[in-house]
Amino acid sequence: MHRLKKFDFDDKLYYVITTIILTVFFLLVLYPCIYVISASFSSGVAVQSGKVVLFPVDFSLEGYKTVFNTYTVWLGFRNSLFYTIVGTAINVSMTLVAAYCLSRRDLPGRNFIMLLFTFTMFFSGGMIPHYILIQKLGFLNTVWALLIPGAIGAYNLIVARTFIQNTIPNELMEASQIDGCSDFTYFIQIVLPLSKAIIAVLVLFYGVRHWNSYFNAMIYLHDKNLYPLTLFLREILMADQIDPSTVTDPELQAKLAQTAGVIKYALIVISMIPVLLIYPFIQKYFVKGVMIGSIKG
């Protein structure tokens, strides 16, 4: 009896402490989001004079108006959607095919191939060889420069392989083979439907990566018509951070920074929307999928 009570107290203490810590972290994460949203609905003057703390001050849609009137934002939005959808489709299909093959115990040289994949997680050629490779492939300034490189992420491959290996019993394959199922049919009709959880996880991982990436686009593209939204966003964000001593006319720069300050929050909100919309639908698979992949690996 006495023991149980003590246990209770420990438990309670544990819950209290965990709740406090988690709440603090939650607020730390939440505050910037709320600030950005509030700032996007406030007047530029209020934002720039630091009056926005939590709620919108001098409610205004000025930022959104400018953003929606700018052609480049829609262009970027469309391009980003394209890169995310097509890129993720390529990523997920390539990863699953590779993961399935590597999960088969009868694949000769399986461990060696896996080692090659793992190697890329820790070592890479560096930026200049990469650039030259892309150039030699003729990918420079084409959409392929953003879609093909990194089509398979080694980490995601490991997660997917482990998932397939551990959740789909070997007996299933033997049984299907007895029924005359080919390897390909087995993959399409049995493995894929059973791997929904991991597909959801891969979609989210790859999708978010595509949506947020800007560096490859910056390095490999030189036509604004191909730029993803993140690059336009970055340019606007940078516009009010430029060191005035590095431009020829700081006064004109200051005027630009003022406009940039008004639209940047609206732009951030717009760029957050797609991920926020998709996340709830995938989230239920999320924890499950990753855990299965990792624990048993």
Binding site: T72, N141, I219, K224, N225, P250, T259, A260
Partner: protein, 573 residues
């Protein structure tokens, strides 16, 4: 099933993506080509040079340009169309990022892989003279010296008045005597003296004080500000002196106040070096006794609580927030741009402030941080450019007087006007003050701070005389002498002449010289700023540790730096 849907989705999106880029015929077809015939591409690489020659014959230039996020479209752009029509050429863009670091990264990648470089490069203040020299020596950039001297090749450039052209020539000439660039030269007066002092006039009036003229008077005034609660909220929240040290456009008030003791440009050019009184010797103003006296003065203000310690920790956001706090709490500050007070003409805190002349120190010095206007090197021609004559014609066009107006102000009668009927009634601050007779043109649209496809946002070479820059009227808002934000003429009178006669120009070092002083150049300005913070806030005692500070500077290579700067200065004369 799922796969089929995905495939359809891909197909549809690809089509949407390609077709909606329709009007951009210049780039898109080659892309689709590349995608569909990648293997073919490799085999036919040999035939590519022939293709290139053909396009060159078609008068086409590939222009790599540092983009600006406020330009919505480069191909369908008024200025692009104007140039193409006037020169009978085709411009194809190679768009570089807008942030300077990224342009540098991308440029070095392009140069390293050295394949299919564009013809012309237009960037603004991205490349240091040292980098330009390096690219020039290694044959990436073409030597343009001969062209700039040839009146038949560059008529517009050679038509620039000799006095200004000499300044441009001097900027463009690297330490090896060659020119690799064409520059932008648009002298004006407002940006040269960014450290404008603003005092809280409302508080002065309330306390019955007059505007301080000397550093001693300032101290008395600040004391009154601090003690007598002039903002009337019953709290002693008044800050005497406020600014922020790391600010790049006049906000470093320690530099502003220091100039009442010793001329120091605050490190904005040549790391803060200056010239001796006779204009012959390069000196380090931050190692002089006057500088020490300036520090002692600020330390005194700090000890009395009249100088905010936040000067050394604040950033741009905090700075603006403090200037714009509900009740004005700032007594004296130094700013370059009025945009620190958003919507200044209606900003109640700003309307309380008044710009004053630089203060006079105990030795009678009254300077303000100042650097000579130096042109920026903007246009380069890559050595692999096939159609050099066209590139030169293209570059020279930027110096055409009419084109020069377009690059900066946009389309005639849409964004600006020279129509005498319209501008005869207009005026601006300089004209009202009698510095110039009349305005020569007027801006009639607000295109600059709004995203548009009118110009390249003034990237590229340009020449506009000081008079041309100062006789522009604002056609959107008639000049109102009562408007407290119209400070250009006042700034000219108060600040423009407040500097020694001889000013050290931007120095061009050779590669060997750079190697010698690289470390000093990187470390000393930072160390000076850091020591200023420590001396002013009393973390280090000025009396006891000043000699150690000088020793440290010596240890960091100050002497060699000054000597090398002297060499570069003599070399450039």
């Amino acid at each position: 099933m799922k796969k089929i849907i995905t495939l359809c989705l891909i197909l549809v999106l690809t089509i949407v993506n390609l077709s909606s880029c329709g009007p951009k015929t210049a780039n898109q077809p080659t892309d689709t080509n590349k995608q569909s015939t990648q293997t073919e591409n490799k085999q036919t690489e040999a035939s590519q040079p022939a293709d290139k020659a053909k396009t060159d014959a078609d008068n086409k230039l590939v222009v790599a340009i540092q983009t600006n996020s406020f330009v919505t479209d480069y191909d369908n752009n008024y200025f692009t169309k104007y140039l193409e029509e006037k020169l009978g050429m085709d411009i194809e863009f190679y768009q570089l990022p807008s942030a300077q670091d990224e342009v540098k990264t991308k440029l070095s990648l392009m140069v390293t892989s050295n394949d299919n470089l564009p013809d012309v490069l237009i960037v603004s203040k991205v490349l240091t003279p040292e980098t330009i020299l390096q690219y020039g020596n290694s044959g990436v950039f073409m030597d343009l010296t001969e062209y700039t001297k040839d009146k038949s090749k560059m008529p517009n450039y050679n038509a620039i008045p000799a006095e200004d052209k000499n300044i441009m020539d001097a900027t463009q000439t690297m330490a090896n005597g060659k020119m690799y660039s064409l520059s932008k030269f648009e002298p004006e007066t407002w940006n040269l003296t960014p450290n404008r002092l603003f005092i809280n006039r409302a508080w002065l009036e309330k306390l019955g004080l007059s505007i301080p003229k000397t550093t001693d008077e300032l101290k008395t005034v600040l004391k009154a500000f601090h003690e007598k609660d002039p903002n009337g909220n019953g709290i002693q929240d008044e800050i005497g002196v406020y600014g922020f040290q790391s600010g790049g456009y006049g906000q470093n008030i320690t530099a502003t106040l220091m100039n009442a003791f010793e001329f120091w440009n605050g490190g904005s050019l040549n790391g803060g070096l200056a010239l001796s009184e006779d204009g012959k010797k390069v000196i380090a103003p931050f190692a002089t006794d006057n500088f020490k006296a300036g520090l002692a003065y600020m330390n005194d203000l700090y000890k009395e609580g009249l100088l905010s310690p936040e000067i050394f920790t604040a950033d741009g956001t905090q700075f603006k927030a403090t200037l714009n706090s509900e009740a004005n709490i700032v007594g004296l500050t130094s700013i370059g741009s009025l945009s620190n007070y958003p919507d200044a003409s209606k900003n109640k805190n700003f309307l309380e402030m008044e710009m004053i002349e630089p203060l006079t120190g105990p030795n009678g010095l009254s300077y303000t941080p100042y650097s000579d206007y130096s042109p920026s090197q903007e246009l380069f021609v890559f050595s692999n450019c096939k159609n050099v004559d066209l590139a030169i014609r293209f570059a020279d066009e930027f110096y055409d007087p009419y084109t020069s107006i377009i690059t900066r102000f946009g389309e005639e009668e849409v964004d600006w006007t020279k129509d005498p009927a319209k501008i005869s009634s207009m005026t601006n601050a300089y004209v009202v003050d009698g510095i110039y007779d009349k305005v020569t043109m007027a801006v009639i649209s607000n295109f600059w701070p709004e995203p548009s496809a009118q110009t390249w946002h003034n990237f590229g070479p340009r020449y506009a005389s000081l008079e041309a820059a100062n006789t522009v009227a604002n056609g959107l808002k008639p000049f109102d002498p009562e408007d407290k934000t119209q400070l250009v003429a006042k700034n000219y009178k108060y600040y423009f002449t407040k500097h020694p006669q001889h000013i050290l120009p931007l120095l061009h070092y050779t590669e060997e010289q750079v190697e010698k002083i690289e470390e000093a150049l990187a470390n000393i300005p930072t160390y000076v700023n850091q020591s200023m913070a420590e001396f002013i806030t009393g973390a280090r005692s000025i009396d006891k540790e000043w000699d150690k500070y000088l020793d440290d500077l010596k240890g960091m290579g100050l002497e060699e730096w000054v000597n090398t700067a002297q060499e570069a200065f003599n070399n450039g004369k």
